[in-house]
Point group: C2
Amino acid sequence: MKWLVGETTEILAALNEDAELTQEDNQHVEEQVRQIIKQVIENGDQALKEYSKRFDQVELEDLLVSEEAINLGYQRVEDEVIEALEAAKENIISYHKKQKQYDFMDTEKRGVLRGQLVLPLARIGVYVPGGTASYPSSVLMNVLPAKIAGVKEIIMVTPPSSNSIPDVILAAAKIAGVDKIFQIGGAHSIAALAYGTQTVPKVDKIVGPGNIYVATAKKQVFGVVGIDMIAGPSEIGILADQTANPTYIAADLLSQAEHDTLARAILVTDSTKLAEQVEKEIYRQLDTLPRKKIAEVAIKNHGLIIIASTVEAMFTIMNEIAPEHLEVQLADPISYLHEIKNAGSIFLGEYASEPVGDYFSGTNHVLPTSGTAKFYSPLGVYDFVKYSQVTYYTKEALAQAKDAIALLARKEGLEAHARAIECRFD
Amino acid sequence: MKWLVGETTEILAALNEDAELTQEDNQHVEEQVRQIIKQVIENGDQALKEYSKRFDQVELEDLLVSEEAINLGYQRVEDEVIEALEAAKENIISYHKKQKQYDFMDTEKRGVLRGQLVLPLARIGVYVPGGTASYPSSVLMNVLPAKIAGVKEIIMVTPPSSNSIPDVILAAAKIAGVDKIFQIGGAHSIAALAYGTQTVPKVDKIVGPGNIYVATAKKQVFGVVGIDMIAGPSEIGILADQTANPTYIAADLLSQAEHDTLARAILVTDSTKLAEQVEKEIYRQLDTLPRKKIAEVAIKNHGLIIIASTVEAMFTIMNEIAPEHLEVQLADPISYLHEIKNAGSIFLGEYASEPVGDYFSGTNHVLPTSGTAKFYSPLGVYDFVKYSQVTYYTKEALAQAKDAIALLARKEGLEAHARAIECRFD
């Protein structure tokens, strides 16, 4: 693991240097993805089948997964897994319901109504990654907030593996209430959702994390449809003092590291002793992990221990990192909540281990990565609505406003704007 | 003007064809913008000065506008314009304050706290277009919601014209509470805000509409920083029946058309007679407009009259268009409010002329264009905050959840996740 020790300004400068190195050139992928999108626009379903053959080694007859196949998949999943998914669903719903927003109407001035409507998106697309593991939890996390928002139709896409989608993914889709599943993945599935094909309907917004091809495709179709965010590798930041338990910290850091060789695991502490214990413990626990190879590379390349001089410095540094997941393992975590400026999901105390949020607590696990918690939010109900403004003026109210509007319009050189108001009084 | 008359399905199909034609190839601009961003990353201020010379024909000594220059500009603006801007500011604040959101905390289960913090972005960049007119109203619309959200530092960029920024723009910036103004525009100013230079600080999010270069640059830096939306040409959709006043409708359509030769002005009505009157009236009013040349091209190329068979069909069609501005000039507009699914800003009745929203009512005028009201919202306070989730579990609460978490983690092949929970009970 890399260690950074020193003054806060030096540590921040070192972190910035690291960040700049990660703004790597991505132009080759961008060009590939551009071609894929073009092909899907031009050749629709045919292009999707060809890419499935090329990238997923699967010859698809039907892109749409039949209801029968979904039900069969559901039935094959062990009862206790279904129960765990149902329990997680209940918690996700109870948390996300609190995010629901309502219309407002404002009547401050005589003859003037102003308001805001909260309207659901009509149809959304959810990307569920395949790859080295299958993620039923991601299905719940992406679909349920859309349901709560009132989205009418939810389309899921997920890459096929050896000609079928894992049963547990089908089960999660059924539990969450997905309307249609297409067994396609990668950049071509994003193109299909953005532009529509003969069988895949065009959606209004695409959500869900994916690999670099999926992320690049989402960025390229952004504007044609809405997208949630550009997801990068997973990361965890842990703030800990000498009262923290090194075994727990090491385990939590490794739970991120096993995701991906690019995953980042960062400990910020004011205790060199704790840091040494954590590092030792990481290597001890790593040894028996089934995904040791992945986690080891992640820890080696992206594991980071930062020794700060004060608790305040720890927060300054962590706010600059803006981690996707932040654990606060300090003696009195509530005392420091007001210091947190940037973090996707915050876990307080030694029993709020990060996987509780991945699977169970009901907060969302689709989170801003790579420092984007400075401006992005966790996926939520707010991602599946949009607002419309409403304005009503009486003639008398417009008469009051007329001169100011005409003056400002003419100041901007927009005479027709001024006349549109004035003609009502001719 | 183009007329579409027929069955709803035929009209929708014709609209879709038009939409596809507008997805034109933009690759040349994209490549130019990519180069500009690269230059700004590599050469910082020097690149900004070179681009200002090349694109704005201005040799800049200082990029930053001095406080003295801002104050002098403010003082040169006529008193009544300052008063109108102050009145608009008051209305913008009173509307946008209602958008403010608050933290929540949830204590449904014993030993579990879950919550959501609403945190302001730290620093934002506002693009204020120059070009054929100067827009002090845009300054207020972009800056004031950020102020209400609690953003600490607001950086404005705007292209210089003949070596200075218009006084009224400086005045609006001062009234709105901008912290720093840089006299740069175009794609290079977006690059500066996204990556930072020697004098321009890196921001967390960039907002504000601009031309195709600005829009493309925003799309390219999206992910490095947040952006509000990809703005296209302005548009208005008007729903009207035979009770509506053709003079007002024509004036309102022209107020959009004068913005830009690409602006779209669309009337959807069930009255052929009204449509004919509106068309005649447009050409009559057009004749005396100072921006006749622009408005005429817009009306000719992008003016559209749609005759629908029923009021319900009018709404179906307009929801598919998803206009930036929507006027409802029906006999009883409130009765139909529930039919509106997609529109940036809705104006009800014959006195809520669209320019009232551009300049005065206090609703925002930075709105989703080109049909993106299906998934984007008006600019608002919500654009300048992000959420952080908070989770706290006691040992007892985690013990209750332990088995479900471990089961789901192992089902996903993520053993380290399961162990992170279980090690707390060893």
